[in-house]
């Protein structure tokens, strides 16, 4: 499992959900379960990183100066 920091939130969430569901179904070998666990944790960390790092900006476009300024 390579950690891909360029995943979108949606992709990471999807990966997290897939890992969680696979572990819930409890199919496959123990190795599969461990792999799902490890991948799930990586996806979780990516989701968490995106949500926790949120720094919302609210700006208004100034047509005259063609700049964005704090709203």
């Amino acid at each position: 499992m390579t950690s891909n920091k360029n995943l979108t939130f949606e992709e990471a969430l999807k990966g997290l959900e897939t890992a969680a569901n696979a572990l819930k179904r409890n199919e496959g070998t123990l190795e599969d379960a461990i792999k799902n666990y490890e991948q799930g944790i990586v996806f979780y960390e990516q989701c968490n990183h995106i949500l926790k790092e949120a720094k919302q900006r609210i700006e208004i476009y100034d047509k005259e100066t063609q700049e964005q300024i704090e709203f």
Partner: protein
């Protein structure tokens, strides 16, 4: 005193000069009902304006038609703005229309239906052109009046649900004759300058049909249709429908609803991630416990014990079978003193009738064989047999 006779051309030329120099006719607004509306292949439009008593021929050049805010229709009452012009060769005059205004719900409704029909026929409302909204937008645009209630409501809703998405407010006019052009150019400008926008909300709060009209204008519809950025149209209240709503990728009933539609709730997403994390942790530990139990069940000692139990059981069964067999063994009967009588061929003899005096017989006892000759024989009845055995 009459002037000397003049030519037809002179008369028409004279009339033309008179009319063109008249300050009123050079800039006049005429109210009337449209009839005989004809769109010429050249792009120009011809129609007649009439009232109860009179008719006036009108001409609308293609260059002015493009900027018209309303779709025209027969039966519609309009105010046509323009100037009187004379067609010298035909000896006729007409109103050269530069702009048209409409008022009244009836007339505006006709224009709305007319425009809807036209754009729908062109395929602008077709679902195959509708873009989908991203699940997790990073940046959304809000194009509306920067001072209206709509922009405040939208920002308030977004902030309460989502602390991630960036918001760009793009100010524009939302009512009046210049608004449609402003909105239309705004959409084009946003697509060029901010291609990173994931969604664009355009709209305004409630108002009269006249006030909402810019969102029914064709130039706005065409700009929405051409936008690469997905657009949510949110104009007025729940009951208001505009052309923008039909062309946009999504219609929201109100600006507030548009904000709800555009973004996910990041606080809920956070707890969803936590739930998935718990499932993952619980799932693995449950799996480990399950596998540990399976290993325990297959453990060497267990296996040996279960093998021993099985062995004991089988041994017991074997013993029982052996005893059963032994009970049936003729040797064990002979052990108790019984013997077997056969003829020379080895046939078992158990009836007196099978034996004659002088027959050679064989007797098999426990540990040997006798070769005998019959000297006497006696039949015994049932009672005698019992007595005999005693």
């Amino acid at each position: 005193m009459a002037l000397k006779p003049v030519s037809v051309s002179q008369v028409n030329g004279y009339i033309k000069r008179i009319l063109q120099s008249d300050p009123i006719l050079g800039n006049v607004s005429v109210i009337g009902e449209i009839s005989n509306l004809k769109y010429h292949s050249s792009g120009h439009v011809y129609f007649t304006l009439k009232d109860a008593n009179s008719k006036l021929n009108c001409f609308l050049a293609a260059e002015y038609l493009r900027n018209l805010r309303y779709e025209l229709s027969d039966g519609m009452e309009i105010t046509a703005h323009g100037y009187l012009s004379v067609y010298e060769r035909g000896g006729s005059y007409s109103l050269n229309v530069k702009d048209v205004s409409l008022s009244g719900i009836g007339n505006l409704s006709i224009a709305f239906e007319q425009s809807k029909k036209k754009l729908e026929a062109e395929g602008l409302f077709d679902t195959k052109y509708k873009k989908s909204l991203p699940f997790f937008p990073k940046k959304i645009g809000v194009m509306t009046s920067p001072t209206g209630a709509a922009v405040r409501d939208i920002i308030k809703i977004i902030k309460s649900k989502n602390n991630y998405v960036n918001i760009l407010v793009y100010p524009c006019l939302v009512q009046g004759p210049e608004a449609a052009k402003d909105i239309s150019e705004g959409i084009k400008n946003i697509n060029q300058k901010f291609p990173d926008l994931d969604v664009l909300i355009i709209g305004r709060g409630g108002g009269s049909l006249e006030e909402l009209w810019p969102f029914n204008e064709e130039i706005v519809a065409r700009s929405i249709f051409s936008s690469v950025i997905p657009i949510i149209s949110a104009v007025g209240h729940e009951t208001d429908f505009t052309i923008s709503d039909f062309v946009a990728d999504f219609r929201a009933e109100t600006p507030t609803a548009a904000a709800q539609l555009a973004i996910p709730n990041t606080f809920e997403l956070q707890s969803l991630c936590q739930d998935f994390l718990s499932s993952i942790k619980y799932g693995l530990s449950r799996r480990l416990e399950y596998d540990a139990m399976r290993v325990y069940m297959h453990d060497k000692q267990k296996l040996f014990e279960s093998f021993q139990n099985r062995l004991q059981y089988e041994t017991l069964r074997l013993q029982q079978q052996k005893e059963k067999l032994e009970a049936l063994n003729p040797l064990s009967i002979m052990e108790r003193g019984y013997s077997i009588l056969t003829d020379k061929k080895g046939n078992l003899l158990n009836k007196i009738s099978q034996i004659d005096l002088g027959d050679q017989l064989f007797v098999r006892i426990k540990d040997g064989r006798l070769h005998c000759t019959v000297d006497e024989k006696h039949c015994l009845d049932r009672e005698m047999i019992i007595n005999d055995l005693k």
